[in-house]
């Protein structure tokens, strides 16, 4: 059971309160996590990664276990603490403003 924290705009968009959890079958990778998330919440398709290229949208970042995982390969394994559910996978909107 992997815990995912979404930015507030996406929580509201998908009518989500608090964290969401997803189950992954097979290797626990970013790609598998996002596939599972979009399967549970189809309304999130295209909001986190581009629907055509499947690349992370440029103004979003992926953090977990005090690390920036944004530039990890989509098929790299997630940290053990994320896979065990002791740490959440954070999807963060880049800060903007001035």
């Amino acid at each position: 059971m992997i815990r995912v924290v979404l930015p507030s705009h996406l929580k509201k968009h998908a009518s989500i309160n608090g964290e969401v959890t997803v189950e992954i079958e097979g290797p626990a990778t970013q790609r598998a996590l996002l596939d599972a998330l979009e399967k549970t919440y189809p309304i999130l398709r295209g909001t986190i990664r581009d629907q055509g290229t499947q690349k992370r949208r440029p103004f979003l970042r992926f953090f977990a276990c005090q690390r920036d995982l944004s530039h990890d390969a989509p098929d790299a394994l997630l940290p053990d603490d994320v896979v065990r559910g002791t740490q959440p996978f954070l999807i963060v909107g880049a800060i903007a403003g001035g």
Binding site: H9, Q51, A94, A96
Partner: protein
């Protein structure tokens, strides 16, 4: 009982403004989709309760929302806008080839007769069509596939397809406009397109009268006379009497012929409205005076309409999709500003009142006349 419903898209959400036929007291609901950019909302002429909205974000991309109850509740429909085939390239600002990349939906145009049929004009410029109420979208690739496509170039706001006019007399004919490629027309339902820019002159181009490359800001037509088109170009207000085959300038005595919006009175096809903006370098009204200018002669002879509009220290802009007219007997005219004001006139522009004053920057204003 007759009423009107304004659909207002802003930088930070959508607002629905309603009033009875007197258009004196307004109810404001919103923000819908708070925090998202709402480039455009528009209701179906065939079913006024069916409203489509373009919801976008630099962070989270594009969504299309649909309401089936007049804007009370909304549901996201499909947001997949995939260019047909290999997208190819257009010109970038520096003249180098740049791949076509979808960025957002600028304008939504529901069919005149079928609530499930709707068109979307997007950046990078292309035209999409849905036949199932927004559940799926397909590109009408003949437009982008026009031989001039590789030479199209973005305007300062991006290479956007921002205007879609459907001909009420000929279902196979529609007009679109792209900044900064120009205006195009199809006579076969979108399969093939031709540029309709003869008579336009744009000094920023190497060839000022070239077939494509003009920064058209907005087109307008009267539904009873679709062969007559009006255009607010980057500079110049233009008119065509032959469905865009040729254009002539009708800027006349306007204080400046730069601007974004243009619209036509609901019952007087020769009465048109613009909001002059000082220049492309200074996107605000001349001398801080917000003025709608009206021509009752289809252009050339213009009069300023100022009663109720700020006539000092006003430095807002009025963007290309932010003016509309209702179809009540006394034609209502509405526009929104980048300062967050929405102004309305229930007497064809003679007098104006502020409907709402402090919204986020207004990107678009559409009106539905409900009976």
């Amino acid at each position: 009982m007759t009423s009107v419903r304004l659909l207002v898209g802003t930088r930070k959400g959508a607002f629905v403004l309603t009033a009875d036929g007197s258009r004196k007291n307004w109810d404001v609901s919103g923000p819908h989709f708070a925090g998202w950019e709402i480039y455009h909302l528009k209701g179906s002429p065939a079913d006024p309760n069916r409203i489509y909205a373009s919801q976008s974000s630099g962070w989270f991309g594009q969504q299309i929302q649909r309401s089936d109850d007049g804007g009370k509740t909304w549901n996201a429909v499909d947001n997949t806008f995939a260019y047909d085939g290999v997208p190819g390239t257009h010109q970038w600002y520096d003249g180098t080839p740049h791949p076509w990349e979808f960025k957002r939906v600028w304008h939504i145009e529901p069919s005149l007769t079928d609530p499930d049929m709707v068109y979307a004009g997007v950046e990078d410029a292309a035209l999409f069509q849905s036949k199932d109420g927004g559940k799926s979208w397909a590109e009408l690739a003949g437009l982008r596939g026009h031989g001039s496509g590789p030479h199209w170039q973005p305007g300062a706001g991006g290479m956007c397809l921002h205007t879609i006019l459907l001909d009420p007399k000929d279902p196979q004919r529609m007009f679109i406009a792209i900044s900064a490629a120009g205006a195009f027309r199809t006579d076969d339902g979108g399969a093939t397109w031709r540029p309709i820019n003869r008579g336009l002159r744009s000094e920023f181009m190497p060839d000022p009268t070239a077939e494509v490359g003009h920064c058209v800001h907005r087109l307008a037509m009267h539904p009873t006379r679709p062969e007559v088109l009006y255009m607010q170009k980057h500079w110049d207000v233009m008119r065509s009497d032959d469905a865009g085959n040729s254009w002539r300038e009708v800027s006349g005595n306007l204080p400046t012929d730069f601007g974004f919006v243009i619209d036509v009175h609901a019952h007087e096809p020769e009465t048109i409205y613009v909001v002059p903006i000082k220049s492309d370098a200074e996107h605000f009204p001349v001398d801080g005076q917000l003025q709608v200018w009206r021509s009752k002669t289809g252009g050339n002879d213009w009069e300023a309409l100022t009663n109720g509009l700020p006539q000092s220290n006003c430095y807002v802009n009025v963007l290309r999709d932010a003016m509309c007219v209702d179809t009540l007997d006394s034609c209502g005219v509405y526009f929104g500003t980048t300062g967050g004001q929405v102004y309305g006139s229930a007497d064809a522009g003679e007098t104006w009142s502020t409907i709402v004053r402090d919204l986020p920057a207004v990107l678009s204003v559409e009106v539905q006349t409900l009976t």
